[in-house]
């Protein structure tokens, strides 16, 4: 039933001109089931974004493999649609052209493109922005466009790299709810990177807490709370404390490492 499978994924990055390579990921084994919503949670530098980039096919693991739907991931593909924290909208294209980009790249007929783009803009409540430039839009609207842009190609899997990290709290909340609605409706497999504990608990079926460098799976836990989840619910908060303790231990490891590298010990 697993669709996205990481087996023994390790990643070392060699900075040019430096002797020692950085071990970012260490033997990560992780299975994501079709239709599952998994959050990768951890402090900065735990390799959660690198793991996501390996799933997207932007980087090849130094050792180990990533497979999707039983095929080895060797490069980027629209079947694993990526949503970036920085939106990565093409600023020289209108909102509608951004959403149409993948469809046109696939050679769809103009009428098909128009129909699909109109539908997505309606779904994400962007219709009135169709002809605007991305720069005219707020962060939340831009991220809606980015989501519409990957959804256009019917990806079975969404890879989301801290997609709501740059948004204000209210916009973030609203987009989280919209994402859950889309997920419930379209049953996508979602791998969502975040460093927000609340966000992970609010969204995920499963939370994978990662260790500080080199990143590996520290705890893989199912979120057993019923949906829709209520942040004021005592069970939510109890779970938040449990996960919080795990993440904060890694956060302190990260801060200590940073301090050490600064003093040169």
């Amino acid at each position: 039933m697993s669709t996205l499978v990481f087996s023994g994924v390790s990643q070392r990055f060699q900075t040019p001109g430096q002797d020692n390579a950085v071990q970012v990921l260490e033997a990560v084994d992780l299975n994501v089931a079709a239709g599952e919503f998994v959050c990768l949670l951890g402090p900065s530098g735990c390799g959660k974004s690198t793991l996501l980039n390996a799933a997207a096919g932007f980087v090849q693991p130094t050792t180990g493999t990533v497979t999707f739907a039983n095929r080895l991931v060797t490069g980027p593909s629209p079947e694993r649609g990526m949503v970036f924290q920085e939106y990565a909208l093409f600023p020289w294209m209108s909102v509608a052209d951004n959403v149409a980009f993948g469809l046109r790249a696939r050679g769809e007929a103009a009428s098909v493109v128009r129909e699909r783009v109109d539908g997505l803009l309606r779904m994400l409540r962007l219709t009135e922005f169709a002809d605007r430039w991305p720069r005219d839009l707020s962060g939340g609207m831009r991220q809606r466009v980015a989501i519409a842009r990957v959804l256009a190609l019917h990806p079975p899997c969404l890879l989301m790299d801290e997609p709501f990290g740059a948004l204000d709290a209210l916009t973030r909340r609203s987009l989280q709810e919209e994402l859950l609605q889309i997920w419930a409706e379209l049953r996508k497999t979602v791998v969502f990177v975040t460093h927000s504990i609340e966000e992970a608990i609010f969204l995920a079926d499963r939370i994978v807490v990662m260790t500080h460098r080199p990143g590996s799976v520290k705890r893989d836990c199912v979120v057993a709370l019923p949906r829709p989840r209520d942040q004021a619910d005592p069970a939510f908060n109890a779970f938040k404390q449990e996960i919080g303790a795990l993440v904060m231990a890694e956060q302190h490891a990260y801060e200590d490492a940073e301090r050490r590298s600064f003093t040169g010990d």
């Binding site: 997207a56 629209p78 649609g81 990565a88 093409f90 020289w92 294209m93």
Partner: protein
Amino acid sequence: MGALNSLARGLALPLVLLAVWQGVCVAGLVNPQALPSPVAVAVKWGEYLAPPQPQVAGQSWLAWVFSGELLQDAQGSLTRVVLGFAVGLVLALPLGLLMGALPWLRAFTNPLIQILRPIPPIAYIPLAILWFGLGNPPAVFLIALGAFFPILVNTISGVAQVDSIYLRAARNLGASPARIFVQVILPAAMPFILSGVRIGIGTAFLVVIVAEMIAVNNGLGYRILEAREYFWTDKIIAGMLSIGLIGLAIDLLMDRLNRHLLRWHRGMA
């Protein structure tokens, strides 16, 4: 009202200077051969601009207007600028795009470019005359050279500095390398390319004046040098002001083009 105000503010200093200049000349404080009065310059400018003969039957109005010496010269200079600039652009743009996109090619060619780039185009004049003789060919060569390097260097850095996140997003959406080049790299590099084009056409206009002083016998650059032979200081100044106005017009045109092509860009429009 705001536009009128800023126009008045912008004209104040030139008008004051003109008044002082006229006053100095009327008072006889300077030799008119060295510095003719603004009125004398304006009169000469009018003669320079005016068609030499009355309109003849069958001659179109436009042809008649353009038969004046000034517009003939301006046309000659602009034709050279456009021709030379086009040659420079056609060579620099594809080369810059390739060099920006291919790091190995850039590493291979960059040292040569860094050595050649600081040589002012004007320093090529002796070589240009030896190679191409006199007339338009050396002028076009020098102008092309003047436009070439700014466009090349800006295009290279424009392409090399395309944010990799756009490339990742495009690859993720299934775009082919050709599509990525045309629809992502080219527009992303466009602000750099256009600023290179703008510097390039400015340099081309600078070079055309010098080239005309040396290699050809018409054009604005030739005309002001010719006027010196006859001590027509008024015509020299009229020619200089004409050159300035044409340069300003070119720059305004480039600005309009920039604004149109970069209307998506933050801080433009």
